[in-house]
């Protein structure tokens, strides 16, 4: 049971009692997704609501604000927001009293949460004036002040920009500014940093913390990232499938978790630095969901064969033309990948890390010549130069080097069953008969931990983690020698993430496959890779053995990247520094731009750092 505030404690800003939310599904059946949730948030307090995807976190937050469609949803229970009985208010009263006044909200998707066809200033001013009518000039001034407050550089000028001209982090700042406009007493933040880069995530979190203090707001912080919880929350509420399973002060929840689920959750969290001293990649511990008992993960048994590189990339450059105007003429170029060189050996995993948009995926795609744009350089697989192969030969060569795409759902044809999708490449490469293909598909399904019966299903009938495994299985159908795994685990829940990482390591151990593991999640990278390459704005700034890069990072960017990672340990809160906001922009360069010459210095054996 959640403990209620002791008598005499300040009356809570938010108190939820026995909240139940149900949605109307097909044929009018009601499907309850939040089952009797109760929680309170006191003034000035930060409460984290954690839980895996689909556990009902967002639904709860939307229910508080009565933002669910009344036609298809049903909310019961009691929600009191600063004395207002939310569930019994009319829509008009909600508008007049609650939304934006008592409570404001920030959402997960900064990219889509701003209206694309109004300027940022318009939207900010609207938020300011809708509760407190004021002259336009004053509102304008207030808006600039707010933008400055959330540390958007050059605020006055950027007020007239449209959201699409802002990066994700900047947009999230605007969202925060909007939420602060009417000085709410409660800020509900629904995964405000999930879609952002680690570095930006850190900035936003510290900004939130800072503002919370300054404004004396309470905060209901929703996330699935235990690291973030540890950073932010005074108290933590853990949700599982619509129920609260544990509730308590954050430190207590982390150090002495009571519910088995909480324990399992914490065990699966990849913690940065936990690999210190481990020589080889290590599997995640296996967790028993019922008891929460963990069996420690096994290290990878197979060693890379360093005698000769399997894949050798040299001076890879990929640029995209930016076309503009109605005429669609070239106006600039995106230097997505710039002079990237590295090698991967059999049974080795090279991780490519870096913030969003730095060119990781493009590097991966360029290697198999699927990037579009113009690529130059050299990619050799064994002795075959891929960049000069004619299309027909290249098509056959692709068997050897497979890519697991970033977004598994999008990369599966929605109209093909999984069986068809798996069998198709096998048959295309004439690797055997249909029956053999079928047999192999069945085998692989079992290997990736799925039931062969699922071969008849369509992609949408799988969960995210399952889809990721399907893509792995599909790639394995061709017995490739190299797999480029593009953010294969980033979008997954912690527990699923652990499973997939373990799966990849199993495969490597069994087949000696080499991985190019693309990720921005350094904690995972630390576990899985032999070597790490850090990318920044299309270039590799540091590359070397895992331990060297992680423990003695040389390049400032690498350091920043590692520092920014939230550590799932409330005792080690370290975010509360004021960092200058760095706006990530696409590496767009004018047409006549000449990239500077780069030199690398060797910081240790096989550890190279770009000289700036």
């Amino acid at each position: 049971m959640p403990d209620l505030p002791a008598p005499g404690a300040p009356s809570p800003i938010l108190s939820i009692r026995d909240l139940r939310v149900a949605f109307q599904g097909a044929r009018g059946a009601w499907n309850e997704v939040v089952h009797g949730l109760s929680l309170t948030v006191a003034a000035g307090e930060t409460v984290a609501l954690v839980g895996e995807s689909g556990s009902g976190k967002s639904v709860t937050s939307l229910a508080l604000m009565r933002l669910l469609d009344p036609a298809t949803s049903r909310i019961t229970g009691q929600v009191t927001l600063d004395g207002a009985e939310v569930l019994s208010l009319s829509e008009a009263e909600m508008v007049a009293r609650v939304r934006g006044r008592i409570a404001a909200m920030i959402f997960q998707e900064p990219m889509t949460s701003l209206h694309p066809i109004y300027t940022v200033g318009d939207q900010l001013i609207e938020a300011l004036t809708c509760h407190r009518p004021m002259p336009r000039a004053e509102a304008h001034r207030a808006a600039v002040a707010l933008m400055e407050r959330v540390r958007i550089p050059d605020a006055a000028r950027r007020l007239d920009d449209y959201p699409h001209a802002f990066s994700g982090g900047m947009r999230q700042r605007v969202m925060i500014a909007m939420a602060l406009a009417s000085r709410p007493k409660l800020l509900i933040a629904d995964e405000p940093t999930t879609a952002l880069d680690v570095t930006v995530q850190g900035e936003i979190l510290s900004l939130l913390k800072e503002l919370q203090e300054e404004y004396g707001m309470a905060m209901l912080f929703i996330t699935h990232d235990m690291g973030v919880v540890a950073e932010m929350a005074d108290r933590t509420v853990v949700m599982l499938r619509g129920d609260v399973v544990e509730e308590g002060p954050t430190a207590q929840v982390f150090h002495a978790p009571r519910a088995p689920y909480t324990r399992a959750l914490l065990a699966s969290v990849p913690a940065l630095g936990s690999m210190r001293g481990e020589p080889v990649p290590l599997r995640f511990p296996a967790i028993d969901a019922a008891s929460g008992a963990a069996t420690p993960g096994l290290p990878l048994a197979r060693q890379p064969d360093l005698s000769a590189p399997l894949l050798e990339v040299r001076d890879l450059v990929t640029r995209f033309d930016v076309r503009g105007g109605l005429l669609r003429r070239k106006v600039a170029r995106v230097h997505a990948v710039e002079n990237v060189s590295f090698a991967i050996h059999p049974a080795e995993t090279l991780a490519l890390v870096g913030e969003s948009g730095c060119g990781k995926s493009t590097t991966g795609r360029s290697i198999i010549r699927l990037a579009g744009g113009t690529s130059t350089g050299s990619v050799r697989l064994d002795a075959t130069e891929l960049f000069t192969l004619p299309p027909g030969r290249l098509r056959l060569q692709r068997r050897e080097i497979q890519m697991i795409p970033q977004d598994p759902l999008a990369s599966l044809n929605p109209r093909m069953t999984i069986g068809e999708a798996l069998v198709e490449p096998f048959l295309e490469h004439r690797m055997g008969s249909a029956a053999e293909a079928r047999a192999k598909a069945t085998r692989l399904m079992e290997q990736v931990g799925l039931s062969p019966a699922m071969l008849e299903r369509f992609p949408h009938e799988f969960s995210g983690g399952q889809r990721q495994r399907l893509c792995i299985a599909r790639a394995l159908m061709l017995d490739p020698r190299v797999i480029i795994a593009d953010e294969s685990v980033s979008a997954l829940d912690v527990s699923v993430k652990a499973q997939v990482v373990n799966l990849l390591l199993d495969i490597q151990e069994r087949t000696g496959i080499a991985f190019l593991f693309i990720s921005h999640d350094i904690a995972v990278v630390e576990r899985i890779s032999h070597r790490i390459a850090v990318m920044y704005q299309g270039e590799i700034v540091e590359i070397g053995p895992r331990a060297a890069v992680m423990e003695t990072p040389q390049h400032p960017y690498t350091r920043r990247l590692i520092e920014a990672v939230a550590v799932p340990d409330p005792a080690r809160r370290h975010l509360r520094r004021t960092q200058p906001p760095s706006e990530l922009m696409n590496p767009i360069r004018p047409l006549d731009f000449v990239p500077p010459e780069r030199r690398y210095r060797e910081a240790g054996p096989g550890h190279f750092v770009r000289e700036d």
């Binding site: 692709r398 795409p405 044809n413 929605p414 093909m416 295309e428 009938e461």
Partner: protein, 327 residues
């Protein structure tokens, strides 16, 4: 574990669970059935031949034999007015200017209208799919050429094509292999109507193909070393199919209206054959004396089109809630 439902099955289930879809579907089936049963109605109920002029026919009403074409006797005695609705088995909706049973013709006409509109819809979808897919997939110059072609069709007066074609075809029979196409054949209006809305469909199809061609799963297929022809056939085409299917009912509705417009301009189904359009046109000549002759097909078109639209709306919601807007 429940058996997995494919998207088609799900679509069917969705349709079955929507009251609107079931009712409108039922209505459409009824209309089709009624038109299919036209010969039965004509022979056994109305007992007339709706394709023979009945200018001198007589009919028993209230035990009195009266001519179907009533000659005016009052005033100057000008004009001949066909018999109005009798609300009986014979001449239920009255006669047209040739003394034929309007109700029977309405049913027969429905056959032709539905066949024309249906076949034209099919033709249009096929053409649009080919143009859209080729333009979207090939891109570059091919795309430019086809996009211009689309613009041309869009700006071209259909009626020029219609009038010319109907004259060129006049009295001739073209034989292309086993297919005979004569001027009175329905093929002429089908071709014309089929082409009119090609741009309407080809444009969104092209857009969709471009989107799909750049989608991750096509990229993935290429990464797996799948042949381009197979990618087109297995990956792109099926995904365009929804767009096409969503268009179908709406297009069918538009085509019924277009067919009637073509007949209104007397390019379409040729006498004595009927379609709702030609009956509407006949009725236009009787608008002031026997409005029912033009009301009947007008209402038939309206009801059918409404049912198609209702059905199409549901289909759209089920197949692709975010695609085609409006039309």
């Amino acid at each position: 574990m429940p058996p997995p439902a494919g998207p088609w099955r799900r679509a069917l289930q969705g349709l079955a669970s929507s009251r609107t879809a079931v009712l409108s579907g039922l209505g459409l089936v009824l209309i089709v059935l009624a038109t299919v049963l036209a010969p039965v109605y004509a022979k056994h109920v109305a007992q007339t031949d709706p394709f023979r002029s009945g200018l001198s026919a007589k009919i028993m009403i209230d035990g009195k034999r009266s001519p179907v074409m009533e000659r005016s006797t009052e005033g100057l005695g000008l004009g001949v007015t066909p018999i109005g609705p009798t609300w009986g088995a014979k001449y239920f909706l009255g006669a047209d200017s040739q003394g034929r049973d309007v109700a029977a013709r309405l049913l027969y006409g429905g056959q032709n209208s539905l066949i024309i509109a249906g076949a034209a819809t099919l033709l249009c979808l096929v053409c649009a799919a080919v143009i859209g897919i080729v333009a979207g997939y090939a891109g570059g110059r091919v795309d430019t050429v086809l996009s211009n072609l689309i613009d041309m069709i869009w700006a071209f007066p259909v009626y020029l094509l219609a009038i010319s074609l109907s004259i060129v075809m006049l009295g001739k029979t073209f034989e292309i292999g086993p297919i005979h196409i004569s001027s009175s054949s329905l093929v002429v209006p089908i071709i014309i109507i089929g082409l009119v809305y090609v741009p309407y469909v080809a444009r969104p199809v092209r857009g969709r193909v471009i989107a799909i061609t750049n989608s991750d799963f096509v990229l993935a297929a290429r990464g797996l070393g799948i042949r381009p022809s197979r990618i087109l056939w297995r990956h792109i085409l099926p995904n365009v199919a929804t767009t096409l299917i969503v268009f179908a009912p709406m297009l069918m509705a538009l085509n019924i209206v277009t067919e009637s417009s073509l007949s209104f301009l007397s390019v379409g189904v040729q006498a004595p054959n009927a379609s709702w359009g030609t009956i509407l046109q006949d009725g236009q000549a009787l608008l002031y004396s026997r409005p029912v002759v033009s009301m009947a097909p007008g209402i038939a078109i309206m009801v059918t089109v409404m049912l198609l639209n209702l059905f199409g709306d549901v289909l759209r919601d089920i197949l692709d809630p975010k695609s085609v807007r409006g039309r």
